[in-house]
């Protein structure tokens, strides 16, 4: 590690703490944010997520070495953590810390983008089914039943296996397009009740088209379940990507992702546990942080919790 890297780490942690402090300041006047911070883990989760994201953005600064650089294949194999290599080196003499920081970019980006795809498709499908009901609802929901009935990993493995050398954008798309089923059910249920509300009738009486009614009037009112399922979903996608990469079917080496780092280190588990321990910890912490934030969001976005 060099001073530059320490500076980046300090900056990232500062960003995380600053984000929490800022949100807390805004929380003072807003009941929704106050409910959010009633969960202590939520604040920790936010701090962690912002720090990790900042670190991923600052990767060129925070990583002392290139993520794929083999430093000294003879002399620096499987080195234990030290001041120079705070998380040790792996089988190929690569700096685990540098790989972890660059891997965060890949893992977080896949998580966020795939979830964005899934939530968009899920929200649109759910809104159409809930708003138009009847045959539209029946067809879309049977499709969702099928999607939910087949294990997601199965579909993913099949696609990935059939598709040699899947590019990263395609991987994101495939993960996203297999992950919208639950969201669409959630949104449909919400839309079914929202469509009976007075403001929907009054929007129709104003001459708004069905598209305008759905996307401008109904969906924004269903934001709460969408946001919560997105927060939970990102964690899920990160785990999924790790699993795929561990099986050698996700992100192709030498690009580091947290999943393929664990795969690389798995054979050295007995001699160099650090090369799997740290990416594993990273995955665990980020997923837990996302779940904590989603949990707090659930309470924050539900006004009926106000008196509790």
């Amino acid at each position: 590690m060099n001073p530059r890297a320490w500076l980046a780490v300090t900056l990232a942690i500062a960003a995380g703490l600053a984000a929490v402090a800022l949100l807390r300041r805004r929380a003072a006047g807003r009941p929704a944010w106050r409910r959010f911070f009633r969960h202590p883990p939520a604040a920790i989760g936010i701090a962690l997520l912002v720090s990790v994201t900042a670190l991923a953005l600052l990767a060129p600064l925070a990583a002392p070495y290139a993520p794929a650089a083999q430093l000294d294949i003879i002399g620096l194999q499987n080195q234990a953590p030290s001041l120079l290599h705070p998380m040790g080196t792996d089988l190929y003499s690569r700096d685990v810390w540098s790989r972890l920081v660059y891997g965060a970019r890949i893992s977080l980006a896949i998580g966020a983008l795939a979830m964005a795809v899934a939530v968009t498709v899920g929200a649109v499908v759910g809104a159409l089914a809930g708003y138009f009901r009847r045959s539209v609802d029946a067809v879309l929901m049977r499709l969702v039943d099928v999607g939910l009935a087949v294990p997601r990993m199965f579909i993913l493995l099949m696609i990935v296996a059939l598709w040699e050398g899947l590019s990263l954008p395609m991987l994101v798309l495939v993960i996203g397009l297999t992950g919208w089923f639950a969201t669409s059910r959630l949104v449909r249920a919400e839309v079914l009740s929202l469509r009976e509300r007075g403001f929907v009738e009054s929007a129709r009486a104003l001459g708004a088209s069905p598209a305008r009614v759905i996307f401008r009037h109904v969906l924004p009112n269903a934001a709460a379940p969408i946001v919560i399922s997105a927060a939970l979903g990102i964690g899920n996608v990160i785990l999924l990507e790790s699993g795929l990469s561990f099986l050698g079917l996700g992100v192709a080496p030498p690009i580091p992702s947290w999943g393929n780092m664990i795969a690389d280190g798995a054979s050295e588990l007995a001699t160099a546990p650090w090369s799997t321990l740290f990416p594993g910890l990273a995955i665990g912490l980020v997923v837990m942080a996302l779940n904590a934030v989603a949990d707090a969001l659930r309470d924050a976005l539900d006004p009926s919790q106000e008196t509790a």
């Binding site: 007075g198 009054s202 129709r204 009486a205 104003l206 001459g207 009112n221």
Partner: protein
């Protein structure tokens, strides 16, 4: 008389009930006309089909379970609204014919500012930019008497009182200067002093903008103060129509009489309030003959078997009652 602005002819709106066991004939052959610039009161008890009639005009009936029967006819500016393509119909909704609803609490979208919501119709129908539409919205908020409209435009519905929200609803409905405003129980959810303010506001706006109002209410007091003509509905049908003064001076249908006697009066000696016995029957099983006969004090055999037509009962008035033809049958003199 000039040509009517809106002509409803033999409107029938039926609903299929939950288990498919019957058909609720909520609106069963309603006809009336709305003249330019007038206020027409549509009166009746809950469940007599007032709201379904108003929703049918803009085809806002949820289908299914509801459907408007073929043969019904709603003419506006020479076109049958019931035969329009959805796109053409949307160009009329909120633009030429606007509507305000009973519940200002639920009819505003909780996640948008009132400025956005008032501006919406102007964006949809007149293609204004967001900035221009906002300026129009602020003008409208000022017109409906909301103080500091420029600041209030950024408020959310929950920050306003019920009366203010109803003013916002009116601003939303009127931003495109419609020819017809359908007001479905616009003051029912408000307390009495606010009611009076809202009615005054509607009256002023009607004079300034020259629109016709279809005022739907169960409150005869509101009709007496605000309407020019009145259509009384019972059990999905029009039972009487008359200019407002004549209706109150000489009601022709026993149902109208009953409604008027049910209005509490300050100068009356009676200690108990009069009520029409019974309640509106279910729309799946209207009584045979005259639909009002089970509750009518004057009913005789003919009323139980033969449905009365809707004959003229004087200049500009009609009444669906056999008493029009046989006034001697009326009990208690007259």
């Amino acid at each position: 008389m000039t040509d009517p602005l809106l002509r409803v002819r033999d409107l029938k709106t039926y609903f299929v009930t939950e288990h498919g066991t019957g058909t609720a004939r909520a609106v069963d052959g309603v006809s009336f006309e709305l003249q330019p610039g007038e206020t027409l009161g549509l009166v009746g008890e809950s469940g007599c089909g007032k709201t379904v009639t108003s929703l049918s005009i803009l085809r806002l009936i949820p289908e299914p379970p509801g459907h408007i029967l073929p043969g019904s006819f709603i003419e506006f500016e020479g076109r049958n609204l019931l035969a329009l393509a959805p796109r053409d119909l949307r160009a009329i909704r909120g633009n030429r014919i606007a509507m305000i609803f009973q519940e200002p609490m639920t009819s505003l979208n909780p996640v948008f500012t009132i400025g956005d919501q008032v501006a919406e119709a102007a964006i949809v129908h007149q293609g204004l930019s967001r900035k221009d539409a906002r300026a129009r919205a602020v003008e409208m908020l000022a017109l409906v008497g909301i103080p500091e409209p420029d600041q209030r435009a950024d408020d959310y519905p929950h920050q306003l009182s019920g009366g203010m929200r109803q003013r916002v609803m009116i601003a939303m409905a009127l931003i495109c200067h419609p020819q017809v405003l359908i007001a479905d129980e616009p003051t029912t959810a408000l307390d009495v002093t606010i009611q009076a303010q809202i009615l005054e506001l509607l009256d002023r706006l009607q004079r300034e903008l020259g629109m016709a109002i279809l005022l739907i209410t169960h409150d005869l007091g509101i009709v007496a103060g605000a309407a020019d003509r009145v259509v009384v509905m019972y059990a999905g049908q029009v039972v009487e129509s008359a200019p407002v003064k004549e209706l109150f001076a000489r009601p022709a249908h026993p149902y109208t009489e009953g409604l008027m006697e049910s209005v509490p009066r300050l100068d009356a000696q009676r200690s108990r309030l009069h009520a029409i016995p019974g309640s509106v029957p279910a729309a799946t099983a209207w009584p045979a003959g005259c639909r009002f006969h089970p509750r009518c004090p004057h009913a005789w055999d003919k009323c139980r078997t033969e449905e009365p037509p809707l004959p003229a009962a004087g200049p500009g008035r009609t009444a669906r009652c056999w008493l029009v033809a046989e006034p001697a049958r009326r009990k208690g003199g007259a």
